[in-house]
């Protein structure tokens, strides 16, 4: 089985990092990386912006040879004292897992009153969703989430992996990163379409917190339509059901919903929760077939490659991704314009309001210019 899998050359998301983000979604206060000091540094740093502390046992050569049981248990005691956490996560790394470190023993040694989620993970899994799964399983065991939620998440993870294999970054051996199409050209095209009286759909299909920025693009399209007197030529779909997913994910949906409402933007169709981006495709297809098949263009943001092409037949497709390696697959699927919001993710951490996107800002400016003329 394993041998038949496509061997992918470009670096891919890490399961260790996926575990860290999942711990954050579970609202742990401190995550401990049991491994080398530099492991997952960049993401550990980013997560601090999101209000969780990430620390490391900083295993060195000695740690690799003699193990780090003592280091981990004393670090557990130390963070408990320093940060008074209510929930702690301990995450394995390649180094500690290869030498056969146990996470449970040091947790027992430390004997804290605080629950500790143990995630025995390393970065060697071909699908980084494994890191999420291992974390959720541990959370279920500890009673932090219930079995029903675990099963729901399992389905989503499986689908997410399939989406990446079909048309995502795991779809071929090597994918050249790309900055996509020039934003102001595409912005001009969008304004033009609206000016010509064409009807468009915005589909925000965002992965969790990235929605804070992708929602800005939906907002910008609506603002421009309003300025052109074409407000009802645009319908909006978004995966912002705030009754689904882990608490933190629901909170994002609530915040984004409130912001859009405040800006006077109607979301006509809620297509799922913010963790349901891999499975919204079917709902979107059904909706388009029933109500919007005569629409002329679609602006899809977030995880555009999860929306099946059949549903979009005959439409001009503009998609916005935050993955530079996603450009090529999207073009191959038949999307006409593909835009990359570079470095989107860091800007959506630690916020609870919509943040300005580059494409949104460009669209607003281009529209101003074109209307002024």
């Amino acid at each position: 089985m394993m041998g038949k899998e496509l061997s992918i050359m470009h670096p891919r998301p890490s399961s260790i990092v996926a575990a860290l983000y999942t711990l954050r979604d579970l609202n742990v206060d401190v995550a401990i990386l049991h491994g080398p000091p530099g492991c997952s540094f960049k993401h550990a740093r980013l997560l601090e912006e999101d209000g969780i502390r990430v620390v490391t046992t900083a295993l060195d050569e000695n740690g690799f040879v003699f193990g780090g049981r003592q280091e981990l248990s004393s670090l557990l005691e130390k963070v408990n004292e320093m940060f008074k956490p209510k929930l702690i996560g301990v995450v394995g790394t390649c180094a500690s897992m290869i030498i056969g470190e146990e996470l449970h023993e040091p947790v027992l040694d430390a004997n804290l009153d605080v629950p500790v989620l143990e995630v025995e993970v390393h970065a060697g899994y071909p699908d980084n969703t494994k890191g999420v799964l291992l974390t959720l399983e541990s959370a279920c065991e500890l009673g932090v989430i219930d079995r029903e939620e675990l099963e729901r998440q399992k389905v989503l993870l499986r689908e997410a992996t399939l989406v990446e294999k079909r048309h995502g970054a795991a779809s071929r051996q090597y994918l050249e990163p790309s900055r996509g199409d020039v934003k102001y050209k595409v912005a001009e095209r969008v304004v033009r379409l609206l000016q010509e009286g064409r009807k468009g759909i915005t589909i925000m299909n965002a992965k969790k917190e990235t929605g804070y920025m992708f929602a800005d693009i939906s907002a910008a399209v609506n603002e421009v339509a309003l300025a052109l007197g074409r407000k009802d030529h645009v319908v909006n779909m978004a995966n912002i059901d705030d009754s689904l997913g882990l608490p933190r994910v629901r909170h994002h949906a609530k915040c984004i919903t409130a912001d859009l409402r405040e800006r006077g933007i109607t979301v006509h169709e809620i297509i799922g929760g913010m963790d349901e981006y891999p499975v919204t495709g079917a709902r979107v297809s059904e909706l388009i077939k029933q109500k919007y098949s005569d629409y002329d263009f679609a602006i899809i943001t977030g995880v555009p490659h999860a929306i099946p092409m059949e549903a979009l037949e005959g439409m001009e497709i503009i998609s916005v991704t935050n993955g530079p390696r996603q450009v090529l697959p999207l073009k191959e699927m038949g999307h006409h314009h593909v835009i990359v919001e570079i470095d989107l993710h860091p800007k959506t951490l630690g916020v609870n309001h919509i943040v300005e996107s580059e494409f949104g800002a460009t669209l607003r400016e281009v529209a101003k210019d074109m209307l002024g003329r």
């Binding site: 050569e61 000695n62 690799f64 040879v65 003699f66 193990g67 049981r69 290869i98 030498i99 056969g100």
Partner: protein
Amino acid sequence: MKDQKRIAIYGKGGIGKSSTASNVAAACADEGYKVMIIGCDPKSDSSITLLGGRRIPTILDLLKQHLDVNEKDIVFEGYGGVKCVEVGGPEPGIGCAGRGIIVAIQKLQKVCPSMKDMDLIIYDVPGDIVCGGFVAPIRKGLVTEAYILTSGEYMPLYAANNICKGLAKIDTPLSGIICNSRSVTREEEIVRRFSEEIGSRLIAFIPKEQIVQDCERDGFSVLEKAPRSDIAQVYRKLAKAIMFNDQSVLPGSLEDERLRELTK
């Protein structure tokens, strides 16, 4: 650099690698050679019989304490001036002994300039090559000649055969087979046939003698405690054979069926 022999003795665990290595080291020292023995087994039992039964601090012991390690902290002179080093390692079942060997050997090379002056360096490696660390001395180009120690029994020969496969895979030539007897019938003949069939040769036959174990129990090599014994003479001969050996081949290996036939 002068002409230096750097050898490793491989073979099934318990077959007699450490005791052969220390007796050979002692015999070479008696001949006036400068000898170093580097114990790479976490058990740290390679040099005890050269040090009158004393255990020395291991490289990893010291590294673990974050001490600044110098040659004098890890290299100890034993019988006949043989320089003794023990790599050490984690407790059984914890951490990574293989990584330990790699780290310790790198450290040793760095802090031990006198390695260069040696005529013979013996790496005494653990029996089972369970991971990359255990072949680090070879992989890192430290060992130039490999020997295999075996008896005429099926299991030790099976291990020897596997080691041959391993050596061939990492392009390391074999310089000879040493038979350490377990008093099996036709033993010398069996091991000689084996040696020839894999393309190598038998360079010594060491009989099984109680005196080896008696000396070991008291903390000595045979060369030191019973220099006049017959077996001391055998070790001297082996030492000479090793020092003058200039033949080595990339070994072949046998099918298991042939191996069984050979030991019938």
